[in-house]
């Protein structure tokens, strides 16, 4: 059963654009989607910059009324539509009972929930909008995407910073179990000033002094925090048999995956133990040895401790291969998009598999912490990624996904 799930399409909305190939090209050019973030609440807490989606999403919605959708739902709906189109699923045949959605998000929308409550306590509870209440549930975006495209099958929402990657892994299980013919799977996260302020106060952002041009460097020697981003990424996951039946393009096979938590109530281990275990279990499930891993998309975002733990986890799981395998970490350019990150990593890996180039980590200089991955580079590299490993870790939870490139015809 395992290894029978394939990816047949991808859609992305990010600070670097809304086409997977263009985003990948920007990453390979070392461009950053980070710009000044001038929201008052965030600014007051020292947030100077973020990798937000600054362009108009309306072209993705044609003439339909998007008023019922909050920002998280709009990001999700745009990316989901792009993924459906890319997969060639026959849109006119929707609604469909056998197509669904698994959406990862950390916050749903703090902005929507907080604004709803703010209006109730200032204007009075009788003045809140029922439309806004519908969006205060954390599964609102998944419900809105289902309504938008007529997805009547399995519809689930997964919470957490690793959730975009977990959603893709879970979708693979669900199509293998026969719970759906096809599932949109990925993550969506909006940039919210109140949440950004909270991250800033916790001292984890690298723009904590209101710096409008921070340059976070995952795994880098001078790193001192991350920059928040926003975006959404979805892939279409299908059973290999049904994809073959409808002659869909297969972008990659989901060979195996695993998710492991530290068991420490949302705190990571310093030595990346849960990351190492997730990687080892995922490789086992995929039937892939460390030597057979051709490249890695890591979760590192510029965090001082988090990146070291991930490097140690990779070293622990991959042994000697860790000193040679090419590694990229794209959050220095796309920002830490929380639950969306894992799905953005998967989609960028699909592009690396297509064109054989792995993005570099701009400004990277090796850290002197005894946990250096030799495969990191400031520059993009030519690779032949037959088998790619995506690592999505947050707060002591790690999802690792092993992908195999589609056979070239």
């Amino acid at each position: 059963m395992a290894g029978k799930a394939v990816i047949t399409g991808a859609g992305i909305v990010s600070s670097l654009g809304d086409a997977p190939a263009a985003v990948h090209r920007a990453l390979c050019e070392g461009r950053r989607g980070i710009r000044a973030f001038a929201d008052g609440a965030a600014l007051a807490a020292g947030v100077g910059a973020a990798a937000d989606v600054a362009y108009d999403l309306q072209p993705h919605f044609a003439a339909r009324n998007v008023r019922p959708l909050d920002r998280t739902a709009r990001l999700a709906t745009a990316a989901a539509g792009l993924a459906l189109s890319d997969s060639g699923l026959p849109m006119p045949s929707f609604p469909r009972d056998d197509v669904g959605l698994v959406l990862g998000t950390m916050f749903g929308s703090v902005r929507t929930i907080a604004d709803f409550d703010r209006r109730a306590i200032t204007a009075g509870p009788q003045y809140v909008s029922p439309l806004d209440f519908a969006n205060t549930v954390i599964n609102a975006a998944a419900g809105q995407v289902a309504i938008w495209y007529g997805l009547r099958g399995v519809n689930s929402t997964i919470a957490g910073g690793h959730a975009g990657a977990y959603a893709i892994a879970h979708a693979a299980d669900l199509v293998e179990l026969g719970a759906a013919s096809a599932l949109l799977a990925g993550g969506a996260e909006e940039l919210c000033a109140a949440a950004a302020a909270a991250f800033s106060r916790a001292g984890v952002l690298c723009d904590g002094n209101g710096d409008a041009t921070p340059r976070p460097v995952p795994f880098g020697s001078q790193r001192h925090g991350f920059v928040l981003g926003e975006g959404a990424g979805f892939v279409v996951v299908e059973h290999a048999d049904s994809a073959a039946q409808r002659r869909a393009q297969v972008r990659a096979h989901i060979l195996g995956h695993a998710t492991v938590c530290s068991g420490r109530a949302g705190r990571a281990t310093a030595d990346g133990e849960e990351i190492a275990r997730a990687i080892s279990l995922a490789l086992d499930a995929a039937g892939v040895t460390p030597e057979e891993v051709d490249c890695i998309s890591a979760s590192a975002n510029g965090s001082v401790d988090g990146d070291t733990a991930e490097a140690r986890g990779l070293l622990g799981a991959l042994g000697a291969r860790a000193s040679t395998v090419p590694v990229t970490a794209i959050k220095g350019m796309l920002g830490e998009c929380l639950a969306a990150s894992g799905s953005l990593q998967v989609i960028c890996m699909l592009e690396s598999m297509r064109d054989g180039v792995l993005p570099g980590v701009p400004d990277f200089q090796p850290a002197d912490d005894g946990a250096t991955l030799a495969g990191l580079s400031a520059r993009p590299r030519q690779v032949d990624p037959r088998r790619g490993l995506v690592v999505a870790a947050w707060n002591g939870t790690c999802t690792a996904v092993v992908l195999r490139a589609a056979d070239r015809s």
Binding site: G100, F107, G108, V110, I113, A114, F116, D117, R118, A120, I121, G124, P125, Q126, V128, S129, P130, F133, N135, T136, V137, I138, N139, A140, A142, G143, Q144, A146, I147, Y149, L151, R152, G153, N155, S156, T157, I158, A159, G160, G161, A163, A179, A194, A195, A197, A198, F199, R201, A202, V204, V260, C261, G263, R264, A265, G266, E274, N395, G396, T397
Partner: protein, 401 residues
């Protein structure tokens, strides 16, 4: 041959009782746990009924957590005790927590807003980033249970408990874990209450599911976690088995965010998917624990959906809603109702739908009005429906000795 998974422990925290014995006795007796809201001013809400758990005293070691996390951790402790598990015998690397919730810990957003609108504004910290996010609830349960290495929060609103149980079932069936705590938790919330009040969905006095005069739901709070393990493992350790989780099914209305499909098509598809997954037919179901919120629309549509799936047999299946007693506990609701189903199957007794006095021609099934019933319960179906059009049904089955 897929692994058979059974329920060996439950830990309900409800307004009619905390722990299996107190809760089950309260529900069978038809006790009502709802009353005037105490925790915030409802003077301008046009409603004042709620199902708060007034006698909940969080254990001292959980004082730093939000109320929903306190519920979830305590429910898990109760469930593990009820299962009489030797915690030291559990391999934490093979143990999973899957938790459903509607709102997570909304009190952190409420506190944030209270501080921001105060004059002068109060301090806000990093809580929204590192205390509020709802995935932390499951990680807290996992840490408390003994450093369990899998934890997941599924925030699919009022169907979340069933989603969590279904997800845990898949983890165990596919050999990703050997034991799981699965369920849901939600704390009474100003935000949730305000929203339902604005929708005009809150009953003025009491929750009367399926009654012609029903006037709405009553928001509540609570939690339940159930212990799930493979049948062979449970038999090997001589565990008391309440029921097998035979299967589950999910669907989405893809129709409206807060109102279900008018003909209950999505609800029917979830029931049918659960029957398929359980390898059962409609003739196999002996009891249905209804979503049964007490709103005019839900109860009418849910009745229609049950008839769509079960045809004439619908009239022979007792259907009840414990929301008539404890109110709608949001993401915890279907988790608590999972305990109801498991205990009904174990005990051959089903709790009533309380406050059901006036028959409604559109709700003409056997709703077990006002008095618990003794009846052989071979199988029980647990139905839950949520904002976002998320539908989830889980089926429990008696394990014959």
């Amino acid at each position: 041959m897929r692994r058979r998974i059974v329920v060996t422990g439950v830990g309900p925290i409800t307004s009619v009782g905390i722990g299996r014995e107190a809760c089950w006795a309260g529900l069978l007796a038809g006790r009502c746990g709802t009353g005037p809201v105490q925790s915030f001013d409802t003077g301008r809400h046009g409603a004042n009924r709620g199902g708060e758990i007034s006698d909940f005293a969080p254990p001292a070691d959980l004082a730093g957590f939000g109320r929903a996390s306190q519920f979830a951790v305590l429910a898990s402790r109760l469930a593990l005790e009820d299962a009489r598990l030797d915690r030291d015998a559990i391999d934490p690397q093979r143990a999973a927590v899957v938790l459903g919730t509607t709102s997570g810990e909304p009190q952190f957003i409420e506190q944030f807003n209270d501080a921001e609108v105060a004059s002068p504004p109060g301090n806000t910290g990093s809580e929204l980033a590192f205390s509020y996010p709802c995935h932390l609830m499951a990680t807290r349960v996992a840490a408390d249970a003994g450093g369990w290495a899998f934890s997941l929060t599924i925030p699919t609103a009022c169907a979340a408990g069933n989603y969590a149980i279904g997800h845990a079932l898949d983890l165990l069936r596919s050999n990703r874990a050997d034991i799981a705590l699965a369920g849901g938790a939600d704390a009474f919330s100003r935000i949730t209450y305000t929203g339902f009040a604005r929708l005009g969905a809150i009953a003025p006095e009491r929750c009367q599911p399926f009654d012609r005069e029903r006037k709405g739901m009553v928001p509540g709070e609570g939690a339940n976690m159930i212990v799930l393990e493979p049948l062979d493992a449970a038999l090997a350790r001589g565990a008391r088995i309440y029921a097998e989780v035979a299967g589950y099914g999910l669907s989405c209305d893809a129709y409206h965010m807060t109102g279900g499909h008018p003909e209950g098509l999505g609800a029917a598809r979830a029931m049918e998917a659960a029957l398929r997954d359980s390898r059962m037919t409609p003739g196999d179901i002996s009891y249905i624990s209804a979503h049964g919120t007490g709103t005019p629309t839900n109860d009418r549509v849910e009745t229609a959906a049950v008839k769509r799936v079960f045809a004439d047999r619908a009239y022979a299946i007792p259907v009840s809603s414990v929301k008539s007693m404890i109110g709608h506990t949001m993401g915890a609701a279907s988790a608590i109702e999972a305990a109801v189903c498991a205990l009904a199957v174990a005990d051959d007794r089903i709790p009533p739908t309380c406050h059901l006095e006036n028959p409604d021609p559109e709700c003409d099934l056997d709703y077990v009005p006002n008095h618990a019933r003794e009846l052989r319960v071979t199988t029980a179906m647990n139905n839950a429906y949520a904002f976002g059009g998320n539908n989830a049904s889980v089926i429990f089955r008696k394990v014959e000795p």
